[in-house]
Amino acid sequence: MSKIDEIAAAVGAGKAKIVGGLVEEAIAEGANPSEILNKGMIDAMAVVGEKFKNNEIFVPEMLVAARAMKKGVEVLKPYLAGDTSNTVGKMVMGTVAGDLHDIGKNLVIMMIESAGFEVIDLGVDVPVEKFLEAAADPEVKIVGASALLTTTMPALRDTVAALNKADFRSRIKVMVGGAPVTQEFANEIGADAYTGDAASAAERAKSFVA
């Protein structure tokens, strides 16, 4: 088994404690840092996402795999510095104005980062203007917005409406989610995608930049 395969296996099994060491060993053996990232980690997380979708693994196993990848990326980062080709794109994420819930959003961020995105986390209770300001960055390819309450779904509608009017709209895709949000509501407010869980969100985001 190659070192990169070992990294992929460790990420898939969520072995956060050993991933960093394996990355160091791979670098010492002369492996290409981009290949470690793409084949050892991002591809491994794609397999994790697929297993999740097929009910072969569940949320805890998915989260430990994402954390293992994060540990590996921390070690790998200095070797990737300055090489922007290693991210598949930049995504902005936030929970809409008036909504303080961040658990679901954070899970989505973990999975989106594991898919190779750089994520700008705007946090919770994010006003429309802040979404617009962040999305104006020409490198941003996707904006994700979530609402966990029916009372904040109107703020989600306002956020998507404002993004839809922005002159950079054709450059970005808008994804929405949250417990009361449905595909029907996403269609109605003009979002590009709705997903019901973190793994599907990562898969959908990847499809937008493929």
Partner: protein
């Protein structure tokens, strides 16, 4: 037969899977009850008498068959799942805006050791006091509760939730916050977590038995909730070991004392419906929130347990009344009429259109045996 007895009998008949004159309808969603009476949420959560008055008006104006909350104070949520609550008028939440659970890591990893060393009760009192002042904050709720029950009974309204029987999974997950609990605790130190679960559960069971055996506090029904320890969150082995095992004991406890376990199942329980087939038939209510397939529930639990729900919150907030009427009527026809209770999926939301709530009741009344 008085109104109270008539409504109680109707719900009991649904639980027993007996024919009903009309499908019963239970209320859910205290914030909506405040909104219906135009009581600002800050006043609603601080004045339990006003709170109770609003709740009674809501149930009786819509001619529902019972309540799941004679009064409600969001502070009690901290006692149940150990996550801080931001009340109306606090922080960025306006005085007439919905309270929100602000889940964060309020329990440290060391707390597991403290529970194992000093016992759960000692830790619990210290934690609830220091982290949220939970006993003082919820005192007004517990002080008024017997009066609220009495007022509801006088108004002809049975309460089917007079207690929350909690599995340790839900409260400790709330205290540690989801990510930390699943990754650092359950996946890294499962043996220790399980030992703590046993301590917590032992204490809870004793408390619940004491509540049941006291004639003053003996409930008709209690909430047995599951929203994190679900079969869509956990693999089968983990679900059975860390969640269902305790839920099942809570359900069995209720049944042993002839109390209705109202199993409030948030999130998707499609993969977990079979477990409810293993509990004694005609004893429990399986309440679904719009994420579980009601038709699958009917297929698996029809003829075994009463099913309740699941008019979705977003539909009650944003759909046209005709759509809600059609949805509710279809539920009665397909899931009921026997062994079915009309209800929202989880709560009727704060921003519900009350014409939509009326449509749920209209569907129930239109389906009544003439």
């Amino acid at each position: 037969m008085g109104l109270y007895e008539e409504r109680l009998a109707r719900v009991r008949a649904a639980v027993n899977l007996e024919p009903v004159d009309r499908v019963p309808h239970l209320s859910a969603g205290p914030a909506a009850m405040a909104a219906y009476s135009k009581v600002p949420l800050k006043d609603y959560v601080s004045d339990m008498e006003l709170n109770c008055t609003a709740n009674i008006k809501y149930v009786n104006d819509f001619n529902m068959d019972g309540t799941q909350a004679p009064i409600f104070d969001p502070n009690i949520l901290f006692l149940q799942w150990f996550s801080p609550i931001v009340l109306p008028g606090e922080g960025s939440v306006g005085e007439n805006e919905l309270w929100q659970v602000h889940e964060k890591e309020v329990m440290s990893e060391d707390d597991y050791d403290k529970i194992l060393e000093n016992g759960y009760d000692e830790w619990r009192v210290d934690f609830l006091t220091k982290k949220y002042d939970a006993f003082n904050k919820s005192k007004k709720y517990f002080d008024y509760y017997p009066t609220a029950l009495k007022r509801h009974k006088e108004a002809g309204i049975p309460s089917f939730v007079d207690g929350v029987f909690q599995s340790p999974f839900e409260s400790l997950c709330g205290a540690r916050s989801l990510e930390t609990f699943l990754i650092d605790d359950l996946m890294e130190s499962p043996e220790k977590v399980e030992k703590v679960f046993e301590k917590v559960h032992e204490f809870n069971m004793k408390s619940y038995i004491a509540q049941i055996e006291n004639p003053e506090t003996r409930p008709i029904g209690v909430w047995v909730g599951g929203w994190r320890g679900t079969p869509s969150m956990l693999n089968t082995e983990m679900f059975e070991q860390y969640s269902w095992k305790y839920m099942r004991e809570l359900i069995d406890l209720c049944i042993q004392y002839d109390i209705i376990p109202l199993c409030h199942l948030d999130s998707n329980w499609d993969n977990g419906l079979e477990y409810f087939k293993t509990i004694p038939a005609k004893k429990a209510i399986v309440s679904l929130d719009g994420k579980t397939d009601m038709y699958l529930a009917k297929e698996i639990l029809g003829g075994h347990s009463c099913i309740m729900g699941d008019v979705p919150a977003e539909m009650l907030a944003f759909a046209k009344p005709e759509k809600v009427y059609a949805y509710a009527s279809k539920l009665i026809k397909d899931i009921g009429p026997t062994g079915y209770i009309m209800c929202s999926g989880c709560d009727v939301p704060f921003n519900a259109d009350f014409e939509n709530v009326k449509m749920m009741q209209k569907a129930v009344e239109d389906s009544a045996v003439k």
